[in-house]
């Protein structure tokens, strides 16, 4: 990967100065928008009544309730990632293999909802899933059920809504790789004696691995920190790290605790991104 990259051109001193000046605004934005808040977050999380303190972390990582909150967030992310992958991987192939108008239509259906805020989408799901919502009324009208079935505020509702909201982020990177995939690769494997299952496992899957890794990392880090979707679709029954952070800042006024929860959340997301890019390199995927 690295050796195939062209070496950057050698810059003369004045050029170097210009390049530095030109990159300053971007560097400032990065500093102000990301590095500074992160530093602050880290600082606050280690602050107690008498200066430096590990109390927030101790409380978060030893109280059974908060451990189950961390597990809730992890579980939501794992299930959402698995589900969006199982739907998104074949869907990426369907979109990539579709011709002209169909392809545009499918991409449109997938990406147009991204323009709508996640709150709108989560509310849409509550309207669908409510006890007097569209699904329940239809089922009752058809006589399939006599009483409304509880759908909203269940883990099923949470998973369905979360998978729906995050699916495009799984499909986009996988589709980008699949669209570039030479269909002759599978045929070449077949001509060498690979049946369709073997051709998939030995060629298609490893060649599309970079897209899978990007999609998994993206959906996992988005869903592990999801706030709106769990709050609207399941609420108090399923406390997550993101909800805990909000509560610590907005209700209980415990900034150190909120910051510590934020750091834990961030660490999980960073760990997943690092792990998946490691895995990508060892699986020998294309960059």
């Amino acid at each position: 990967m690295t050796e195939a990259m062209p070496a950057p051109p050698k810059l003369s001193d004045p050029e170097r100065r210009t390049a530095f000046l030109l990159s300053l605004p971007a560097a400032m934005i990065l500093l102000i928008m990301f590095i500074l808040p992160l530093g602050l977050l880290l600082g606050v999380s280690f602050t107690g009544p008498e200066g430096f303190s590990l109390a927030a972390y101790q409380r978060l990582l030893t109280t059974p309730h908060y451990l189950s909150v961390i597990w809730n967030s992890l579980k939501l992310a794992l299930v959402t990632t698995a589900l969006t992958f199982l739907i998104g991987y074949p869907a990426s192939f369907a979109i990539a293999r579709a011709r002209g108008g169909w392809r545009s239509l499918m991409l449109g259906c997938l990406f147009l909802p991204l323009a709508a805020s996640v709150i709108v989408k989560a509310f849409a799901w509550t309207i669908l899933l409510r006890s007097d919502g569209i699904i329940n009324s239809t089922l009752m009208l058809l006589g399939i059920i006599d009483e409304p079935v509880r759908m909203i505020f269940t883990q099923t509702a949470l998973i369905v809504g979360s998978a729906n909201v995050f699916l495009p982020f799984m499909i986009l990177p996988i589709f980008a790789v699949v669209a570039q995939l030479d269909p002759r690769l599978g045929e070449a494997a077949a001509m060498l004696g690979a049946n369709p299952a073997v051709a998939f496992l030995k060629v298609t899957l490893p060649v599309t691995m970079p897209g899978i890794i990007a999609g998994v990392a993206l959906v996992f880090s988005l869903s592990v920190s999801a706030y709106v979707v769990p709050t609207l679709l399941i609420g108090e029954r399923y406390p997550t790290l993101a909800a805990t952070i909000a509560k610590a800042y907005l209700l209980t006024q415990q900034p150190a605790f909120g910051a510590a929860a934020g750091v834990v959340l961030l660490s999980i997301a960073i760990a997943v991104v690092i792990l998946s890019s490691r895995f990508g390199r060892s699986s020998g995927g294309l960059s």
């Binding site: 030479d182 070449a188 077949a190 001509m191 060498l192 004696g193």
Partner: protein, 357 residues
């Protein structure tokens, strides 16, 4: 199962294929002996790739039969055919290194590691890439990738190897070098192979026999010499080598042949045609001399170029441009000069004008 024709290694009979309303292959027959090299030659879109894919099992024919090494493989899936393919795009596996690509088929056959390694080495040394075994694919040049694709195909010792415009992505010089090298290599390992190309020079260099394809049919299947000297159709004439041709109507016909009235004058052809039918009269440029002879015409010289071993004289004969080939050392006529030129009756080719080219 019927016994295959004696000596036929690959036999394609009665194969047709339609995509929707278009007939892409029409009643194709092709038999090949073991160790034979055959080229499918024809313009883009005539069905060459489709025929190759039928042999590979990647496309199913609507009718017909394909037999390989005495086995009916018409319905066999591609992975059970033992047919090798070198694709135009090479289709190398980007996630594997050179050895991984070449050993892919051997690994699937469950061979012991040591056997795979030695077979990979053997295949790579045939294409002079033994030192590249652990290179990633993207670090190779186009020519090297082409060789890896070839090594990957021959490593599993397929019954027949198919090449779909496998050399067309290489630049001219490399392509010409690869043509003779590839032919030598395939002969050396006794491979049976079908090449697909739209490049007539490649077809003549590479193969024992050439199948000229036009609009889904095989117009002519012959060795290169016969193809050049006795093209079966006006299309085969125009597609292989240079030629000069004139259209006309038959004015008289007897036991020895016919006389065709063309815009440039009457020409004799050594073949009987119905009076009044339209006929294409042709010959090869090297048969033309600037003297009177069997078929003599008059024309104006519009250009003459010296090309070393030969010279080309371009003549306008009553509105038809014809190119004659002269020995390099002869005195060339001036531009604008009126000349008589001719070619012998024995070198006169004729085709029914109904079969358009």
């Amino acid at each position: 199962m019927t016994a295959p024709d004696a000596g036929l290694h690959l036999s394609i009979s009665n194969v047709s294929k339609r995509f929707g309303a278009t007939t892409v292959l029409e009643d194709i027959h092709l038999g090949m002996a073991k160790g034979e090299l055959v080229t499918l030659l024809g313009p883009s879109g005539c069905g060459k790739t489709t025929l190759l894919r039928v042999v590979a099992g990647l496309t199913h024919p609507d009718t017909g039969r394909v037999e390989l090494a005495g086995r009916d493989i018409t319905r066999a899936p591609p992975y059970k055919r033992n047919v090798g393919v070198v694709f135009q795009s090479y289709a190398l596996f980007p996630h594997l290194d050179v050895a991984g690509n070449v050993g892919f088929g051997l690994k699937l056959r469950g061979l012991p590691k040591a056997d795979i390694a030695s077979a990979v080495h053997r295949a790579l040394s045939l294409v002079h890439l033994e030192r590249y075994a652990d290179r990633p694919i993207r670090a190779l040049s186009g020519g090297q990738q082409q060789r890896v694709a070839l090594a990957r195909a021959i490593a599993v010792e397929p019954s027949v190897i198919l090449f779909d415009e496998a050399l067309s992505a290489l630049d001219r010089k490399l392509r010409e070098a690869m043509q003779s090298e590839l032919r030598h290599l395939l002969t050396q390992i006794g491979a049976t192979a079908i090449f697909v190309t739209h490049d007539q020079e490649e077809a003549l260099t590479m193969s024992d026999r050439v199948a000229v394809m036009y609009k889904g049919r095989i117009d002519q299947l012959a060795d290169p010499r016969t193809l050049y000297d006795q093209p079966a159709t006006a299309f085969a004439l125009s597609f292989v080598g240079q030629s000069l041709s004139l259209k006309g109507k038959v004015v008289s016909s007897d036991a020895d042949g016919s006389v065709v009235e063309t815009s440039a004058g009457p020409l004799r052809v050594p073949r009987r045609f119905l009076r009044g039918s339209s006929v294409i009269v042709a010959t090869r440029p090297e048969h033309v001399t600037l003297t009177a002879g069997d078929n003599t015409l008059t024309g104006t010289v519009v250009g003459a170029t010296f090309q070393g071993s030969r010279s080309l004289v371009e003549i306008d004969a009553a509105g038809t441009r014809l190119t004659a080939e002269m020995p390099g050392r002869c005195t060339l006529p001036e531009r604008g000069e009126t000349v008589i030129f001719s070619w012998p009756l024995s070198e006169t080719l004729s085709f029914s004008g109904e079969e358009h080219a």
